[in-house]
Amino acid sequence: MAKKRKWWSGLLVLSLVGVLFTGCSTNNTAGSSTSAPAATTAPAESTAPEATEAPAADAPVDGGTLVTSSFSDIVNINPLLVNDTASGDVAQFVFAKLYNLDREGNVQAEDWSLAAALPEISEDGLTYTVKLKDTAKWSDGQPVVADDVVYTVETAKNKETGSPLISAFDKVKTVEKIDDHTVKFTMSQIYAPFLYALVQEVVPAHVLKDVKPTEMQKNAFGTDPAKTVTSGPWKWTAWKQGESHTMDADPNYWGTVKPHIAQVIYKIYADQNTEVQAIMKGDTDHISAIPVTQVEAVKANGKIDIIQKPGAQYEYVNFNFDGKNFPDGYGLFQGQKTRQAIAHALNRQGMVDNILKGVGALMNAPFLPDTWADPGDAAVNYDYNAETAKKLLAEDGWVADAKDGILVKDGHRFSFELQYNAGNSRREQVAAVIQQNLKDVGIEVKPKAIDFAAWIDQNVTPGKYQALLLAWSLSTPDPDAESIFSSKYFPPAGQNSGWYKNEKLDKLWVDGYSTVDQAKRKEVYKEVGKEISTDLPYVFLYQYGQAIGTGPRVHWAEEDAPEPSLGYGQFFHAIKWWVTE
């Protein structure tokens, strides 16, 4: 069903302490690039005298240790259960995927992919035939075969497993082994995003076949390095809980491109601040997310290269359309003009410039800028204009109250609660801006920060709130977003937690994934962009990004540099990186 998406905010909650700790923050004014992917050649953007020394940069060397860091530990690296960033980080070093993404987000059969070539898709778009490389091996020496793929998909589809992959594979009717190295997927319907579902690690059937699906979470595969048979360039050799993971290059790795780096250490710090300190000290070589408040301090250090551009996540204000959430059942956001007025009233560019320090891009539809589905000008862009906003509100019947200037309609005050998660400093600032911006047009906003777990459990999942400020982190480049906007997915069955219903859009989402012809899909998403930006179930705020930092010991060729716009793009082509002492 739904494309796999993550609530990026979970991580940001964990960064609470880190944010609190930013005692040495700087008032950075750098309007760092929101530029095209090609601009991210690694050791070039900032001052990095040691990193750019020509001889080392030109000639890869084998051996050495790369120390990278995170501020949360893994949960489980069993690909059937991976659902958090840290687990995904570690898994992608040690497990090979069927397919991989290139820098532009296209599905490719790379040298390190398990598949030998792109899948053959039948004319009717209903069957995908995947050929595996006959050289691929598990770390225990067994070959990677069709049975592994069949087992992985069937186990993921089995409800008893509780696998988050179920939404990626539930439109697969059957998955069959044709021969040892060929697998055929038959779909129950045409479903274009399925190609991205194949960018997926596989688990070894010969190790797991006797494990009951309900016991999968308790199985040591994925939590005990000694019992986790892997297929990637590095083997998972040690895990000190809460401290570090060690991954050693697998001497028997099957790929023709072998990793240069002999050992990868994935260190876990308590928060982002300690992580940043560690890379500045030289204790680590790589950091995936430097908090925006500390980027300038890291730049000033002079030894760290920073790659900074918007990533695969965007922030939005979500309106709730269920009247039950409002006093007297009177939904404040029913009027289209009202929602458009709110979009005009918000200074989104100001948020990008001042809060994101320029590392962000405005969005008008749920498609990331510069991707193939970006509708461009077809989507309505709401400029910051309080006068237009006031005009639209008046047209929708809102009249300013004589006493305090707050708008009133049918005896109802325009006053609502805007929920977000406590501890996310960016969101706190954005909420304050929204409050001020809307006050200027006569709308009262009461920002409310709630503990993340409690919030999701009691408000977001059941769809009980008036408006919320949240973000989506897109884990695949596919533009399908039916699961968050279609009325098929009202709570508790899905993620349309704002109870938004638009029949035209409901149909368009289905049209969007019901063809594998990308040109046709592009047209559909253009139409989606137009409709959704006019009707505004969300005010789309901006795409934002995180700064990746690397120390002077790490090197790569330009085409292998980290790619922030991809999920796990911070380790893009790590197999080709090398380290110097």
Partner: protein, 323 residues
């Protein structure tokens, strides 16, 4: 004495069980269970429900509690929900790490604070006393994490005298000297906090005793000041200090989450916060039990030490006549 100890221990066991029930209920009352925390909440509720079922979290609270307590009585602290790792494998190494850190800080502060506090009580408002006051204020007022970051910035990042964080340098896990170097900064931060309070207690306690009639008598009899302080006053002054030390004992295993975070010390404090965020019931219960046991032991030790230090204190039958 023995009877007293037995009674205290029995009382304590009861208290600990009540604490476990209360903790269990409180944790469960908080919204968001382990599955919600460990999963991206954007996923369907069916996945949560299935995962909760696979982990036994769909059972009524009392069944979960009794299962946990049953395991505990067999010496099994249970497993984490999110990845099924034995709590004991996670808990004991962290207690060890915290004892190293907190023990060192405690010892350092004690060795400085007690003599200094005593000395200052004999020279009230002298230079040393004023300095100590200043340090105390600093110790009370300065947020430990901020002081920690300050030390890291100067002594580690700028001057490169000490390691920034962690317990060991990679590859030097067996080196005591390396561990010592890693201890300096966090111990400084923590010791300042302990120092401040111990020094105040030592000074105040001594001053109170020095003001007593029997001290005045001793002085009047011409006993040397040194002897007055160390023989007559110190022993009595130590009683309240021992109380404080006894009550502080749980801190030695409980850890200081903020300091452990700043210095990336893999100890209990940091782990507890992590487990609380993840709603890991078993882990939280284990920490609660260990801390509760330490509180009991601390109290007992303080009581026993009273008797050792001050023979006037009699433990035993309640309702005895006032002496």
């Amino acid at each position: 004495m023995t009877e007293y100890l037995i009674r205290r221990v029995l009382q304590s066991v009861l208290v600990i069980f009540l604490i476990t029930i209360l903790t269990f209920l409180l944790i469960h009352a908080a919204p968001g269970g382990p599955t919600q925390v460990m999963l991206a909440p954007g996923l369907t509720p069916e996945i949560f429900a299935q995962q909760a079922k696979n982990l036994g979290l769909d059972q009524p609270i009392y069944i979960q509690y009794f299962r946990w307590i049953g395991d505990l009585l067999q010496g099994d602290l249970g497993y984490t929900f999110k990845n099924h790792i034995a709590i004991s494998d996670l808990l004991w190494p962290r207690i060890g790490n915290t004892i190293i850190l907190m023990g060192a800080a405690w010892l350092v502060s004690l060795l400085i604070a007690i003599p200094w506090g005593i000395y200052n009580s004999t020279k009230v408002y002298g230079l040393s006393d004023q300095t100590a006051s200043f340090i105390s204020y600093l110790g009370f007022a300065m947020p430990t994490f901020w002081f920690g970051i300050l030390l890291q910035q100067w002594l580690s990042l700028k001057l490169d005298w000490f390691p920034l964080s962690d317990m060991h340098t990679r590859g030097k896990e067996d080196s005591i000297a390396d561990l010592f170097m890693h201890l300096v900064l966090p111990v400084t931060v923590l010791a300042l906090g302990f120092l401040a309070s111990y020094m105040k207690y030592a000074r105040a306690s001594m001053l109170e005793v020095l003001d007593q009639d029997y001290i005045r008598t001793a002085r009047a009899k011409g006993v040397k000041e040194r002897k007055v302080v160390f023989r007559h006053a110190l022993r009595n002054a130590l009683i309240p200090i021992i109380t404080i030390l006894g009550l502080d004992l749980p801190i030695l295993v409980g850890g200081a989450a903020l300091t452990e975070n700043v210095f990336n010390w893999p100890g209990m404090g940091r782990w507890f916060v992590e487990m609380a965020t993840a709603r890991e019931y078993s882990a939280l219960m284990a920490v609660t039990i260990v801390t509760a046991v330490m509180v009991v032991i601390g109290n007992l030790l303080a009581d026993i030490l009273y008797v050792v230090v001050d023979p006037r204190v009699k433990l035993g039958k309640q309702g005895g006549k006032a002496a």
